[in-house]
C-alpha cells in the first residue's frame, strides 16, 4: 500500500490498482471460506475412509446436523442435485460443497421460528389441553406427513414425554428441546 501514496501524485499504475482492497468482496470471501470449512468439517465426520465421499444415506444427517430443517421431500431434491448417476450410492465432497454453499448463502431450509413450531403442536391439540398423549402422537406422526418409523417414534417419545408415568407431553417445554442449537 505504501506505493499508492506517491509524492508526485501520479495516478497509480495498473499493478497498484489491482491491489486496492474491496472490503465488501473481502468479507464475502471470508464468509465463503468460513462456510466451506464448516461444511467440510461436517462432511468429514461421515467420511470414514477419508476419500472425500460419504454414503448417500448419511446426507440427511449431515445437512440436519448443520442446523438446517429440510423436509424429507426437500432432502430428496438436494440429494438429486448432488448425486452422480455413475455412483448413486455416495456423494462426493465437491458436489456437496457446491450445492450446500449456495443453500447456506441463500439461507434456505432455516426452519420455522419457535412460535410456529408451538403453533404446530397447538393445531394437533384439538382439545386445547396444553399437552398431547402418546396415542395422539402415534396417530399423527406415524401415519401422516413424512411418517416416523417405529425406531424414530420410540426415540421421539423418550424425549417428548414429561416423565415415564403419565404418557403425556406438555409441548410448550418440549419445543425448547427441539430447537437446540448446533453444538449446544
Amino acid at each position: 500500500m505504501a506505493t499508492s501514496t506517491d509524492a508526485t501524485g501520479a495516478v497509480p499504475d495498473q499493478e497498484n490498482r489491482v491491489t486496492l482492497r474491496d472490503p465488501i468482496r473481502e468479507s464475502e470471501e471470508r464468509a465463503n471460506q468460513a462456510r466451506i470449512k464448516r461444511l467440510t468439517d461436517a462432511f468429514n465426520v461421515f467420511d470414514q475412509e477419508s476419500n472425500n465421499t460419504i454414503p448417500s444415506t448419511e446426507l440427511g444427517t449431515v445437512i440436519r446436523s448443520l442446523g438446517l430443517v429440510p423436509t424429507e421431500g426437500e432432502l430428496q431434491d438436494i440429494l438429486s442435485e448432488m448425486s452422480d448417476d455413475s455412483n448413486p450410492d455416495s456423494i462426493h465432497l465437491e458436489r456437496f460443497l457446491n450445492v450446500m454453499n449456495m443453500i447456506l448463502k441463500d439461507r434456505r431450509y432455516q426452519g420455522e421460528p419457535e412460535s410456529k413450531i408451538l403453533r404446530a403442536f397447538q393445531v394437533l391439540d384439538t382439545q386445547n389441553n396444553g399437552y398431547l398423549t402418546e396415542e395422539e402422537f402415534r396417530n399423527y406422526l406415524c401415519k401422516e406427513g413424512e411418517p416416523f418409523n417405529e425406531e424414530e417414534f420410540q426415540d421421539f417419545m423418550t424425549i417428548a414425554l414429561d416423565d415415564e408415568t403419565n404418557h403425556k407431553c406438555t409441548y410448550k417445554d418440549f419445543v425448547q428441546h427441539l430447537v437446540v442449537e448446533e453444538n449446544d
Binding site: 465426520v45 444427517t61 440436519r64 438446517l68 424429507e72 426437500e74 434456505r108 413424512e146
Partner: protein
C-alpha cells in the same frame, strides 16, 4: 426463499406434497361444501411435517455428536496399536543390527520371546515339563471347581455357572485344559474345514475381547456349543476386557468336548506381544500370581497352533482380519503355522541356536509367506479399489472391492466373513455385500457405544445376523439420549487426557500463534495445532465447544481446555512447571513403557530381577558400542531400585525413565 410450508398456516392451499411423502388418502376433488374440512386437514398435515422435520434435525445433531465420539475412540485405539508396532519395530531393528553377533540376537530373542535355544523336540519336552498341571498343587483353601479328565458337557455347564458367580479356576486346571486343547490343535490344518451338511448351521462369533458377559449372552440366546450347534470363534478372544481367561477356558472346554464342531481362528491379539500391552498378561498376573509364567508360556505356544481361518462349505471364507491381493489358500495351507509364535515376530528372524543366525538370509519367499499370515490377521477393507499397506494400524493392509472380487472368484467363494473392527451395530456389510464384518463385544468403547452381533450360517440360506447388547452395568436400559451423552462423555475424557499429556507442546504452539499473549487464537489455527500435536485426525470444529471456551468473536480461549477439574486431577495441579512436563512425558509414554517393562520381566513376576536387567543392558550396550562392565550395571540397577529391595518394580522403572526424560528435555532446548 423460504420453503412453502412456511406460510402454510395462512394459506394451506399452496402447500404441495413432496414426492417422497406417502400419498394422502384424500379424494382428488371434493364437493365445495367440504372445503372447510379439507383446509383443516391440510393444516394438520403441515403441522405434522413441521414437528417431524424438527425432530429429525434434533436427532441428527445427536447423531453427529455420537459419530464424533466414535471417531475419538477409534483414533485413540489405533494410535495405540501403532505405538506397539513401532516399539516392536525398534526391537526388530536392534536385532537386525546385531545379527553379526548371534549371542546378542539370542539375548534379545529371549527378551522378546522368552524362548530357549533348545531344539524343537527338546523345546517341546521342556514345555510339557515346565507347564505340566502336576507342577501346581491345589491348596486346601481352594473352594472353586475341580476338573478331571475326561472333560465332559457337565464341566462346561458347571464352569459357566462358576464364572457367572465370579469364581476363578485354579491354575492347575487351567494348565490341564490348555494342554488338552494344545494336543487337539496340533492335529488341525491351518484352515478349518467346516461343513453345515450334518448340523445344518454354524454360528460365527467375532471379537470378544475379554467380555465374558457377551459370550454368556450369546450362549444364552444361541445355545451352548454342541455337535448340533457348531461355533467358529473368529479371533481376538483375549485382551482389553477383564475376563479373557474365563472366555478362553469356556471355549477351550467346548472345543475339547466337540473338537469337530467348535473352531478357533487366530486373531491379531492371540499374540503375546499384544498381550503385553492390552491387558491379558496383566489379567493372568493378577489372577495367578506365581503361576502366571507357566500359564503365559503355555498360551504363547497355544497361539502358534491356532488355525488361521475357516472355510464353510467351500464357499464362505472366515478369517480374523481379511485378505490382500496375494491371499492364496494353497499357500496358506502349506505354511508351518507354529513357526509364528508371534505374528509380529516370525521365527525366521530368530535363530534356533547360536550357530544358525538367519536374520541376514531372509529370503523373499519367507517374507511372502509371513505376509500371507500377517494380511489374514491384520487387514481392513476399504471402499476404493486396490491394496495398500494399513498405515492406520501399522500392520496388514487395506484391500478394496476389486481385491475382494478377485480373491473370491479365484477360490470360488461367495462370501468373506471377518471381524477385527468394532462396528456400531455389531456387524457391517461392505464390498457389494461380499464382505461381512462381525464384532461380538458390545459396549466395547463405553457403555452404550455399540451393539455386539453374531451370524448364523445355514445350508443354502442367506446369513442371519443376531444383534445384542449387554446391560449388566445398568439397572434400567438407557435411552438413546442418555447413551449418547454417556459415550460422548467417556470419549471426551479420553481426549482431555491426551490434551493434558501434551500440554506443554500444545501451549508452545498456541503461544506462537498468539504473539500478543491475548490468550486467544483463531479456530483454524487451533484445529491445525491440535491435529498436529496430538496426531489425531478428528472433527475438531464439531468438538470444539465441548473442549474449549470460545469468546464472543468466535476466537478460541486456548488455555481453558486445561482449566477443567478433571485435568487438574490428572496433572496434580500445584507442582512446578518443570516437573509438570516430566509428568506429561511419563504419562504420554506410560503404555509404551509398560510394554517395555513387561518384555524385560521375563518370568512375569511383576518385577525385574538383576539378571533380567543385566541381560538387557548387555544387549543394549553392545548395540550402542558402549560396553557396561558388571559393576556399572549393578550400580545402575541399584540406582533405579529406589526402595533397595533387590528388584525393580514398575513405579521405579517409570521413575528411571523420568530421569532419562530430564536429559532429553534439556537436550531439546539446547
Amino acid at each position: 426463499m423460504f420453503s412453502e410450508r412456511w406460510i402454510c398456516f395462512c394459506c394451506p392451499q399452496t402447500y404441495k406434497i413432496q414426492r417422497s411423502i406417502a400419498p394422502l388418502e384424500q379424494p382428488q376433488s371434493r364437493p365445495p361444501s367440504k372445503t372447510r374440512g379439507k383446509k383443516k386437514s391440510d393444516i394438520t398435515l403441515a403441522a405434522v411435517i413441521i414437528i417431524q422435520s424438527w425432530f429429525r434435525r434434533r436427532q441428527a445433531l445427536f447423531e453427529i455428536r455420537r459419530k464424533a465420539a466414535w471417531t475419538i475412540y477409534q483414533n485413540i485405539e489405533y494410535a495405540g496399536e501403532q505405538d506397539q508396532l513401532k516399539l516392536y519395530n525398534f526391537f526388530l531393528d536392534l536385532m537386525q543390527a546385531v545379527s553379526k553377533n548371534p549371542r546378542d540376537a539370542l539375548v534379545i530373542a529371549k527378551v522378546l520371546r522368552r524362548t530357549s535355544s533348545l531344539s524343537s523336540t527338546a523345546e517341546e519336552l521342556d514345555l510339557l515339563q515346565t507347564t505340566a498341571p502336576e507342577t501346581v498343587n491345589i491348596e486346601s483353601s481352594y473352594k472353586g471347581q475341580h476338573i478331571q479328565l475326561p472333560i465332559t458337557k457337565g464341566h462346561l455347564e458347571s464352569l459357566v455357572g462358576a464364572f457367572q458367580r465370579g469364581e476363578t479356576l485354579h491354575a492347575r486346571y487351567v494348565l490341564l485344559i490348555l494342554h488338552e486343547v494344545r494336543r487337539i490343535l496340533k492335529r488341525l490344518p491351518n484352515v478349518n474345514v467346516v461343513s453345515t451338511y450334518q448340523s445344518t448351521c454354524v454360528t460365527v462369533v467375532g471379537d470378544l475381547h475379554g467380555n465374558l458377559s457377551d459370550l454368556l449372552l450369546i450362549f444364552h440366546k444361541n445355545g451352548l456349543p454342541s455337535n448340533e450347534n457348531p461355533y467358529i470363534f473368529n479371533g481376538d478372544i483375549v485382551d482389553r476386557g477383564t475376563q479373557s481367561m474365563e472366555i478362553f477356558i469356556l471355549i477351550s472346554v467346548a472345543f475339547i468336548i466337540y473338537p469337530n464342531n467348535v473352531y478357533f481362528n487366530r486373531g491379531n491379539h492371540e499374540d503375546h506381544v499384544l498381550n503385553l500391552r492390552y491387558g491379558f498378561m496383566k489379567e493372568i498376573i493378577k489372577k495367578y500370581k506365581s503361576q502366571s509364567t507357566k500359564i503365559f508360556h503355555l498360551f504363547e505356544n497355544i497361539y502358534s497352533w491356532l488355525p488361521i481361518a475357516s472355510l464353510i462349505d467351500d464357499r464362505i471364507f472366515v478369517t480374523h482380519g481379511g485378505i490382500s491381493d496375494i491371499t492364496d489358500l494353497n499357500k496358506i495351507n502349506r505354511i508351518q503355522r507354529n513357526k509364528y509364535v508371534s505374528i509380529l515376530s516370525p521365527t525366521f528372524v530368530i535363530p534356533e541356536n547360536e550357530e544358525q543366525c538367519q536374520i541376514k538370509d531372509l529370503t523373499n519367499e519367507q517374507l511372502l509367506e509371513w505376509r500371507q499370515m500377517l494380511d489374514l490377521l491384520w487387514s481392513d477393507p476399504k471402499q476404493g479399489n486396490g491394496c495398500e499397506p494399513n498405515t492406520y494400524r501399522g500392520g496388514g493392509c487395506y484391500w478394496g472391492p476389486d481385491v475382494t472380487n478377485q480373491i473370491l472368484e479365484k477360490h470360488n467363494w461367495t462370501l468373506l466373513i471377518r471381524s477385527h473392527e468394532c462396528k456400531e451395530e455389531g456387524f457391517d456389510y461392505c464390498h457389494d455385500k461380499k464382505v461381512l464384518t462381525i464384532f461380538s463385544a458390545s459396549n466395547y468403547y463405553a457403555a452404550g457405544s455399540n451393539r455386539g452381533a453374531y451370524v448364523r450360517i445355514s445350508t443354502n440360506q442367506p446369513p442371519s445376523i443376531v444383534q445384542f447388547m449387554g446391560t449388566k452395568h445398568t439397572v434400567k436400559p438407557l435411552t438413546i439420549w442418555e447413551r449418547v451423552s454417556y459415550v460422548e462423555e467417556q470419549a471426551l475424557r479420553n481426549l482431555l487426557e491426551k490434551f493434558s499429556a501434551n500440554k506443554s507442546r500444545l501451549m508452545k504452539e498456541f503461544r506462537l500463534k498468539d504473539p500478543h499473549q491475548a490468550g486467544c487464537i483463531a479456530l483454524n489455527e487451533w484445529c491445525e495445532i491440535v491435529t498436529q500435536v496430538l496426531e489425531l485426525q478428528l472433527p475438531w470444529r464439531t468438538l470444539k465447544s465441548r473442549l474449549v471456551d470460545i469468546d464472543s468473536n468466535g476466537l478460541i480461549l486456548y488455555e481453558s481446555t486445561f482449566r477443567s477439574q478433571e485435568l487438574q486431577c490428572v496433572l496434580n495441579s500445584p507442582v512446578l512447571n518443570r516437573r509438570q512436563s516430566f509428568c506429561q512425558a511419563i504419562y504420554r509414554n506410560k503404555d509404551l513403557l509398560e510394554a517395555v517393562f513387561r518384555a524385560m520381566d521375563k518370568d512375569n513376576s511383576g518385577v525385574i530381577s538383576l539378571q533380567e536387567f543385566t541381560d538387557v543392558c548387555v544387549f543394549l550396550g553392545n548395540h550402542n558400542g558402549t560396553k557396561f562392565d558388571e559393576k556399572q550395571i549393578i550400580d545402575l540397577a541399584t540406582s533405579i531400585d529406589l526402595d533397595k529391595n533387590g528388584v525393580i518394580d514398575f513405579n521405579e522403572f517409570l521413575e528411571a525413565f523420568r530421569i532419562v526424560d530430564i536429559g532429553d528435555h534439556n537436550h531439546d532446548h539446547s
